[in-house]
């Protein structure tokens, strides 16, 4: 089911380019115009942010600590409100729309213990749908589906303190997926995960066909999940392009406190060879 998509000289891991059914939206998923934000104590966190993200895109948000990435995330579901215009699927952020916006934009925070605050896993994953006013049968269906999507079926009656960190991360993701968002925003999804947990989370996220925005320091993770990369520094967007281009540009990475991960050349080479082999096989078949 993987389509082949050619980009000039760039690596194209076949599974990353799988395009699945996404809901037809005529508007851009996220449109931000001239966003400014300062914290109450005066620190200027966002400085003239202009950004637009199409439906179905997978965007990595990179940058040094303190760049304003998490602050920007909190604007996407109207938790923080700065000066400027933000539209989510053409809905402006005003109080009548906030409920709908929070359903459409699901934010998975960094620490799963902050998101698992109910007695059992079922309650946590059901929290969103229940607040949406859904019926009991629908809530049960959504919980089952969300837990299935993250590979945690059967854990409904467990309490959060019984889970390992990787399991907690997956359940935290499920608590957001049960609301069936159109945009999934993730704050450092792979941090503190062991390699197995990281791999599991990556395969889960790759298989969910929604618009994704991922704040991360894990550049290899970003490369495997995202098509596009945006670098923020000091409250501004300083680079915006395809992830291959951005990660190949050592100067821009260096200027903003980032580094291409060690071994990236080898990985790109291997990916190129993999897609070459795939192309050969499909022509033979």
């Amino acid at each position: 089911m993987a389509e082949e998509s050619q980009s000039e000289g760039g690596l194209v891991p076949a599974f990353r380019r799988q395009k699945r059914e996404t809901k037809m939206h005529h508007h851009k998923a996220i449109e931000i115009k001239n966003l400014y934000f300062s914290y109450p104590d005066g620190t200027r966190a966002l400085n003239k942010i202009n950004l637009s993200i199409e439906n179905g895109e997978s965007v990595a948000l990179l940058g040094p600590n303190g760049a304003g990435k998490s602050t920007l995330l909190l604007h996407l579901n109207a938790i923080l409100q700065g000066q400027g215009e933000i539209r989510i699927f053409n809905l402006p952020i005003v109080s009548e729309n906030i409920r709908e916006i929070r359903r459409r934009v699901g934010v998975v925070f960094q620490d799963p213990d902050d998101q698992l605050f109910c007695p059992t896993v079922f309650d946590d994953v059901a929290f969103g749908p229940i607040n949406m006013g859904l019926s009991r049968e629908e809530v049960n269906k959504r919980v089952k589906k969300a837990l299935g999507e993250v590979g945690m079926k059967g854990f409904e009656e467990k309490a959060a303190y019984h889970l390992s960190f990787g399991q907690k991360k997956r359940v935290a993701t499920a608590t957001v997926l049960s609301m069936e968002p159109d945009i999934l925003v993730l704050d450092e999804p792979s941090s503190n995960l062991d390699p197995k947990g990281r791999r599991e989370l990556l395969s889960i996220l790759v298989s969910i066909p929604v618009t994704k925005i991922v704040v991360t320091h894990d550049l290899l993770f970003a490369m495997e999940l995202c098509d596009r990369a945006i670098i923020m520094d000091d409250g501004k967007i300083v680079a915006d392009g395809s992830i291959d281009d951005i990660l190949a540009d050592e100067d821009v990475l260096d200027a903003h406190g980032l580094e291409a991960p060690a071994g990236i050349e080898e990985i790109k080479q291997r990916a190129k060879e993999r897609s070459k082999v795939h192309r050969l096989r499909s022509t033979e078949a």
Binding site: I79, R103, V107, D113, F117, P119, V139, A160, Y161
Partner: protein, 261 residues
């Protein structure tokens, strides 16, 4: 770190476990209130109360060792409050005892007995209640009995995050021990004060983050849930049966008094 939880044995299979939480709450609280209101010298009444409690304990199939260990929590309070009373309460003319040269007044001993027996009945009742009901069902039971949701919400969050904070405290202790050369830092109250302050700050900030997570998932001020348990005839009959039995004992005391006088 292994934590022992309030509702450790709440997943056992017994008659008491399957009763509706509301029925159990009303039953055990009535038991405690009636026991506390009984005059201290009605030893027979207390014997019956303990008998009923033991009956409930056996029906609940809870491990007796666990219940006994938990009940020891009352010991420090008794020690602080009551243990010295027999030795200091002034002799009011009802006589006393003299063991090995130490005077104990009878009325003082009665006060001591009063404190011990009533606190013990209270503790055992609450242990059976909390060990036979999952914490979630217990809180839901209180809510359905019209306890203001703010109390149950605070209790639920405290229960959820208490062990998170305990783990943070353990990590702080390990970090501190790694940097300590001179031995017993526990006597350094400054260190403990800093730890407590730091834990408070972290908990406060975590509270802010949890609130953000709740708001992101549509929280608007009301904690919602589904009510799946109904009060069945079995619940009502059993609970009222127990309450009636205790009420009769309690009232029989009054009746006895009236007959005597």
């Amino acid at each position: 770190m292994k934590h022992s939880y309030l509702d450790s044995f709440s997943n056992l299979d017994s008659f008491i476990h399957h009763l509706d939480a509301r029925a159990k709450i009303i039953m055990f609280f009535s038991l405690v209130i009636l026991a506390v209101s009984t005059p201290a010298h009605d030893y027979y009444a207390f014997a019956v109360y303990f008998g009923i409690l033991f009956f409930l304990l056996l029906m609940s199939r809870l491990p007796l060792g666990h219940v006994f260990k938990r009940s020891l929590v009352v010991v420090p309070f008794v020690l602080m409050v009551a243990v010295f009373i027999p030795f200091f309460k002034a002799n009011t003319g009802t006589g006393g005892y003299n063991i090995g040269g130490i005077n104990m007044s009878k009325s003082g001993l009665l006060v001591f007995w009063n404190v011990v027996v009533k606190s013990y009945i209270g503790v055992i009742s609450m242990i059976i209640l909390s060990s036979s009901t999952s914490f979630k069902d217990l809180m839901r039971g209180f809510e359905r009995l019209k306890v203001p949701p703010i109390f149950t919400a605070i209790a639920s969050f405290m229960y959820r995050y208490l062990f998170v904070v305990a783990d943070e405290a353990m990590r702080m202790k390990i970090a501190r021990d790694s940097r300590n050369f001179s031995g017993k830092w526990i006597w350094d109250t400054r260190v403990i004060a800093h730890m407590i302050g730091s834990l408070f700050m972290r908990s406060y900030e975590r509270g802010e983050r949890v609130y953000l997570a709740m708001v992101s998932r549509g929280y608007d001020g009301t904690m919602r849930g589904f009510d799946d348990t109904q009060l069945s005839r079995k619940d009502l009959l059993f609970a009222s049966g127990i309450i009636l039995a205790i009420l009769l004992i309690r009232l029989s005391v009054l009746i006895n008094l009236k007959l005597v006088n």
